[in-house]
């Protein structure tokens, strides 16, 4: 098996919202987009990080005592990481017995990851499920992703790629034959807005969508519904009209904004830009979903 390795920050088994059946969702670390509402802040940086989970801390002070760089300090009763001093030596992680200080991101070989994925094959078989590679953006670890996809196909495991669509076409080209389903994010068709909210243009994203469709890919479109960003009927109508021209779309999912990522920002000592946003009301979601139903899309809301 290939010796290439990848940085994974989470593996979620019995994942039931990332494609058909029971799935294992593998979260790749690193993302070229920086969406202000992102609920997986630990997915954004490609490198390993350290986080502190407050409620597990037993205040033994070992992290402070053992840090060779003086990067651990108590500030306002909380043990923090002084990021300018921390050299990610992981000493504090190794001495923490309560698992309050944790590494985010672990290097996996293809073999290690496939071993994990294969464990749940009996559940995939019964449910017609499989594996979903998500992130972050899996395409930025393309060689690792490709090898993982190939190994899954060798083992007859259904594969899905949850992608922002932001990557060179050559990357898509490589993985197309080994990807059974694309979970493809569309945020807005308004490029200006897209750039402002995510840090990147949507041009390449839409191009790639067209091209994978031409290559007969099966696609589930996922639209995160973010208050005051893309929750108008106009936004959704534009997207629906655009998608009508694209073949292979089996499903459109409208994913309501939620606040579940808030604690993770705290653990990573980062500011959450969507801290004050509230989820969109059910009735409004229903109204927006009607736009897609009218355009004859299968629709799912969450």
């Amino acid at each position: 098996m290939s010796q290439v390795s990848g940085n994974i920050f989470s593996i979620q088994r019995y994942s039931i919202h990332d494609g058909p059946g029971i799935r294992t969702t593998v979260f790749f670390k690193g993302c070229p987009l920086h969406c202000f509402w992102c609920h997986n802040p630990e997915s954004q940086k490609s490198e390993q990080e350290i986080q502190v989970v407050d409620f597990r801390c037993i205040e033994c002070g070992l992290c402070i005592k053992n840090c060779p760089n003086d990067a651990r300090k108590i500030v306002d009763d909380k043990i923090l990481i002084l990021k300018d001093k921390c050299k990610l030596c992981m000493k504090c992680v190794s001495v923490c017995m309560s698992k309050a200080t944790e590494v985010v991101g672990r290097e996996y070989t293809v073999e290690e990851l496939i071993k994990k994925i294969i464990t749940d094959v009996p559940f995939y078989k019964r449910s017609r499920g499989g594996v979903t590679f998500s992130g972050g953006e899996p395409l930025i670890q393309i060689e690792f992703l490709l090898e993982c996809l190939k190994e899954c196909k060798k083992n007859n495991i259904h594969t899905a790629l949850d992608t922002s669509g932001y990557g060179t076409w050559s990357k898509f080209e490589k993985i197309l034959n080994f990807t059974d389903l694309f979970l493809y994010d569309i945020k807005t068709l308004d490029n200006k807005k897209h750039k402002k909210a995510t840090g990147v243009s949507n041009k390449i994203i839409l191009e790639n969508l067209n091209r994978i469709s031409e290559r007969n890919a099966k696609i589930h479109i996922r639209i995160p519904l973010i208050p005051n960003f893309n929750d108008t009927s106009k936004d959704m109508e534009e997207i629906a009209n655009y998608l009508k021209k694209i073949k292979g779309i089996e499903l459109v999912e409208l994913l309501n904004f939620h606040q579940l990522g808030y604690g993770k920002y705290k653990n990573l000592q980062r500011q959450y830009l969507a801290e004050n946003l509230k989820p969109i009301k059910d009735e409004r979601i229903k109204e927006l979903s009607e736009i897609f139903i009218k355009n004859k899309f299968n629709i799912k809301t969450r």
């Binding site: 019995y14 017995m97 449910s127």
Partner: protein
């Protein structure tokens, strides 16, 4: 003013009355089981259909022993008859069934409250030292836990049963004469009980203003007048007959096992349908009325002896009845490949919608293939029904004493570790601990087996199974009690408990002492002795290893090793008197009691804390429900009794049709892997945490504790905390 009243309204009224009864039961501390609880009002056991007696009701038994106990078939029979003859009549005009039971006779007759029934003249102190040493719940004096073939009763009726007793009494005279006297008294008592209800129903009908309920009471009177002597002919009569039997049995010694209800009621259902005298709505209503009186341990959807699906309309109607009632129930769906898929769909839908911890799911194939390893045929295995918290039984033909004999793996481990550490040999090794653990486990099984023999030898002279004997094959015919050898098959259940605590302890010592060398044996000894005082870091170091349930860890391997060696030892030989034993891993609801007297363990467990639950990994050990399922499937004993997986999950995993479909796939995959029984709690974390603080705010909140469901508010503080811990640590 006279008005129509629908079945749904009547069901709602019945549920409300049950809730009132539960409130009174909690207040008065009726049906309290747990001797570990400090909360006197706690129910801490199956919420069976017992109803509170009138406060001014007085009844005194006539003991026949200086200890104050009521012992032997004659005394048990005559006293129980007297109780039945004096039992207050209970008729709810909303119900289509008469009767309600108010007492636990076996607890009343017991001189030592809160313990198993026993006559001190039958001394088993010669076993006590080892029983205590190994933390054995010996089951001596514990009743029932096998069950009846109701078809015997359906065929004979009470008159026929009485005639059968008198026939064999005469034929076998003088053999079994005391036993027959006891049986006769039981039947006469039951007939009296039924008859008084027939009379009362007639009286009530004369004053009932609502025409629907008046008609109901008139019909109730007719049916019960008939059932005093005659066998049932219609579906309604059969359900009423069954209710009388099961209430008599519940009140006598706690046997509330329903069995394959969709099979034994089917001939009546078919017949009534053919005649056009029964609608599905009526049938469902009668089943709802039955569930109010006896809510637990029904199997649906099994197979016949040729492996064909037995799912029928009654299977669905029972689910619907439970769904409408919203009370604690234990309905076991026997899952197999030939089954009508709609039944499993319906069951999962109700599981998530009602959040009552029922239905539960058992694997037909794995139970059958396990049972035949005892040397039985597949046809016989298919007749063995899932009926108790985790056990099975061939109705009327098999004595199992299941779920009563427990070996506490943690006690055995504790004895072993102390012995090794005190051996004076400085060169300890985990292998050495393992070898001694196997030795002590062998000794523990031996002493449990001797206890089983002792029970079978003497129970019939103390508290015979007089009610169950009536509907078993062989007891009346041979004049011998079922607990003493009258039945065709004797397969005694012996369960292990606390698997995860021990597997994790082995793995923690191995990893931290032998492999990583972070700790010495002396340090282990010292922190355990001091109950981890000032050693929280060490405790967490030991606790946070990859535990049993994490998948592919050393602790997982130890889990399999412990289960395998336990199974091997139990199956190695029969009891000294030659009875077959069947292993399982299940601690029922005894986790707290079993941990109460054991010091700290190397898995980071503090002294006196509960041991791990049955075959389950400790909460928080697994990263997903698939990991849990794989772990529990891997440690199955595999001889026809189950090692259940207890799952506590968030409602979100089944809040829509699609996710319910995925949960069905999960159940099937768990069984593909070898799992036998799945109990599921759908727990809303926020609600449970609030209910733990304010139990009275949530009188209707139902949780599955283990093999049974009950009202959360009715549990003692310790038991509520156990449920809460499961949720907190899993999240």
């Amino acid at each position: 003013m006279e008005k129509h009243i629908s079945y749904i309204e009547r069901i709602n009224n019945l549920s409300r009355t049950k809730a009132e009864h539960t409130g009174i039961k909690i207040k008065r501390g009726l049906n309290k089981k747990s001797s570990t609880s400090t909360d006197l009002a706690a129910l801490d056991a199956d919420d069976k259909g017992i109803i509170p007696p009138p406060e001014d009701f007085e009844f005194k038994l006539e003991p026949n022993h200086p200890s104050g106990g009521v012992f032997g078939p004659v005394a048990c029979g005559s006293n129980y008859r007297k109780l039945l003859e004096n039992h207050p009549v209970y008729i709810d005009p909303n119900s289509s069934l008469a009767g309600g039971y108010m007492f636990n006779f076996w607890e009343m007759s017991n001189p030592v409250k809160g313990k198993s029934v026993w006559n001190p003249d039958f001394d088993f102190s010669f076993l006590k030292e080892d029983q205590e040493k190994y933390g054995i719940i010996h089951g001596i004096g514990d009743p029932q836990h096998f069950y009846q073939d109701i078809n015997i009763g359906f065929k004979l009726g009470w008159k026929g049963i009485l005639e059968k007793i008198r026939y064999y009494k005469k034929n076998n005279y003088p053999s079994g004469k005391d036993f027959y006297k006891g049986l006769e008294d039981i039947v006469l008592g039951i007939q009296n009980w039924i008859h008084r209800h027939a009379v009362a129903a007639e009286d009530y009908s004369k004053v009932e203003e609502n025409p629907v309920l008046r008609e109901n009471l008139i019909e109730m009177a007719r049916i019960n007048r008939k059932l005093v002597t005659e066998p049932p002919e219609t579906f309604h009569e059969a359900v009423q007959w069954f209710a009388w039997f099961i209430m008599s049995s519940l009140m006598y010694n706690g046997n509330g096992t329903g069995g394959a209800i969709d099979v034994f009621l089917k001939p009546f259902y078919d017949n009534d349908k053919l005649k056009g005298i029964l609608t599905d709505e009526e049938a469902m209503f009668h089943l709802a009325c039955l569930l109010i009186k006896d809510n637990e341990y029904y199997q649906i959807g099994g197979t016949d002896i040729n492996g064909n699906d037995m799912t029928n309309p009654i299977s669905f109607l029972l689910l619907e009845a439970a769904h409408l009632l919203k009370i604690p129930t234990s309905i076991y769906l026997r899952v197999h490949e030939k089954q009508d898929p709609k039944l499993l769909e319906k069951a999962v839908e109700i599981l998530f919608e009602d959040r009552n911890g029922s239905p539960n799911f058992v694997s037909d194939e794995n139970l059958n293939s396990g049972f035949i390893k005892n040397g039985y045929t597949i046809e016989l295995a298919r007749q063995r029904e899932k009926c108790g918290c985790h056990w099975c039984n061939i109705p009327g033909r098999e004595f199992t004493h299941s779920d009563l004999v427990k070996i506490n793996f943690v006690s055995v481990f504790d004895v072993t570790l102390k012995e090794v550490l005190n051996s004076g040999n400085a060169n300890h090794s985990v292998n050495n601990v393992w070898d001694r653990f196997v030795y002590h486990l062998g000794k523990a099984v031996e002493v449990a087996a001797k206890g089983i023999d002792f029970h079978i030898e003497y129970m019939h002279e103390i508290f015979p199974e007089l009610v169950l004997d009536l509907l078993c094959y062989g007891s009346i015919e041979r004049g011998i009690d079922a607990s003493h050898g009258s039945l065709e098959f004797y397969n005694l259940g012996v369960d292990g408990a606390g698997l995860a605590t021990v597997a994790d302890s082995f793995a923690a010592i191995e990893q931290k002492v032998e492999i990583e060398k972070c700790l010495s044996w002396q340090e282990i000894e010292s922190v355990l002795k001091n109950n981890y005082k000032d050693a929280e870091n060490i405790r967490l170091m030991l606790k946070n290893i990859d535990r049993y349930g994490s998948g592919g860890s050393r602790a997982d391997e130890y889990g399999v090793r412990i289960s395998s060696i336990f199974t091997e030892i139990v199956k190695e030989k029969s009891t000294p008197k030659g009875f077959n034993m069947i292993p399982g891993i299940f601690s029922w609801a005894l986790d707290t009691l079993m941990g109460k007297y054991i010091g700290a363990t190397p898995n980071g467990r503090f002294a006196n804390e509960p041991i791990s639950h049955g075959a389950n990994p400790d909460p928080g050990s697994s990263d997903s429900i698939t990991a849990l399922a794989i772990a529990v499937a891997s440690i199955q004993s595999g001889y026809g009794n189950s090692c259940p997986l207890q799952l506590d999950i968030d409602p979100i995993l089944g809040n829509e049709k699609e996710s319910q479909g995925k949960f069905i796939a999960f159940i099937k995959a768990f069984f593909d892997l070898g799992g036998t029984l799945l109990n599921v709690n759908i727990l809303d974390k926020k609600k449970i945490l609030d209910a733990n603080e304010n139990p009275s705010k949530y009188p209707d909140l139902i949780v599955r504790v283990t093999g049974f469901s009950t009202y959360f508010a009715g549990l003692s503080k310790e038991w509520r905390q156990l449920i809460v811990n499961r949720i907190i640590e899993s999240s």
